[in-house]
């Protein structure tokens, strides 16, 4: 029994180390420098969010899966699974990186803010942890089974991130959301 406890503790410790190590990794992903009117931040955010959601629908949706399955070729099916896994994992990393960037930005602004509320900060921290956990679970599931059928979780991840963006602004008024 004691060995099992030690094993579980080691597993949890390893998971924690992995989480911390990943949070130190920063991947700038969105590149909007070349598009016109980059000073219109609100509209750019809106456009990026819409595009991110469309990527989600394509990568985690099962329309393409059904089309390829109906084709009946194992080679194409394997190719689809491989490619969709790659895109889905990239999308998850991006969401996770966006969340970390938002929290860093929030922490910087919170240091100078005078009217912070404990409940607000706690709620934000909870949402952030929830998002990171969901990203890890989603990554593992995608790696093991592929992204098809996980659309609901991906949508939930996206929603939590939007919540963090919105809530970060409410908790520290004047904080701009990061367009990463």
């Amino acid at each position: 029994m004691i060995y099992l406890s030690i094993f579980a503790a080691l597993l949890l410790f390893f998971a924690l180390v992995m989480l911390v190590a990943r949070s130190l990794y920063w991947e700038p992903d969105l590149n909007i420098a070349g598009l016109p009117g980059t000073n219109a931040a609100g509209q750019i955010d809106e456009a990026n969010d819409a595009m991110s959601f469309e990527i989600l629908l394509r990568a985690f949706g099962d329309d393409d899966q059904r089309f390829i399955t109906a084709l009946g070729d194992k080679h194409v099916e394997r190719l689809l699974l491989f490619e969709r896994k790659r895109i889905a994992l990239r999308w998850i990393r991006r969401k996770s990186a966006e969340a970390r960037s938002l929290m860093r930005e929030h922490a910087n602004r919170a240091r100078e803010a005078s009217d912070l509320t404990v409940s607000g900060e706690a709620r934000l921290a909870f949402r952030y942890m929830e998002l990171l956990l969901l990203c890890e679970v989603l990554s593992l599931s995608v790696s093991l089974f592929g992204p098809a059928g996980l659309q609901k979780f991906a949508v939930q991840t996206n929603m939590i991130l939007s919540d963090i963006k919105r809530f970060g602004n409410v908790v520290v008024p004047g904080a701009d959301t990061v367009t990463s």
Binding site: D29, L30, N31, I32, A33, G34, L35, P36, G37, A40, Q43, I44, E46, A47, N48, A50, M51, S52, E54, I55, R58, A59, D63, D64, F67, I68, L71, D73, H75, V76, L79, L80, E83, R84, R86, I87, R90, W91, R94
Partner: protein, 169 residues
Amino acid sequence: MTWRKVLPADVLRAYEDFSSRSLARIPSALERLIYIASTRDYNSGLYHHEGLAARFDPLAAAKALEYAHAGVFREVSLMPLSQLSDELEKYMQSAKEEPLAFLTAWQELEPYRVAIPMHADPTVAELFVSNIKIALAVLRYRLPKEPDHQSGASLPPSPAPRSLPQFRS
């Protein structure tokens, strides 16, 4: 597209002119994408379209082309695979190349990568490349079966280099 709201007025006018005169004549989004990408200089990354630059300020015309490129690229990248496969098949037929030679060249040389806008979102760019690869595999599977179809190793000789279909505004 939301970007439209933030375009300067002259760029927007040039874009609308280009859309109605040139793009509207091209039936599929994939062909529109290839056409717009062909207006970009590979060395400088700058866009140029004779007709558009004659009617508008050349800088506004180039920006309009860049904007059009981004929009069509996004449309093609997020397209369902069934539709993309059909569009690619139509494009392959319009190229009048031997299907096997076309597919082999596209799979080996990946010429479709030049259709990616310079400032494209990296995830969308990856999705585009990924979808084209799968659509090519679908088309190869749909080809009438011959003994050496699966290998795809050799490139049959082409009688003469062919260029992209010409569309004029």
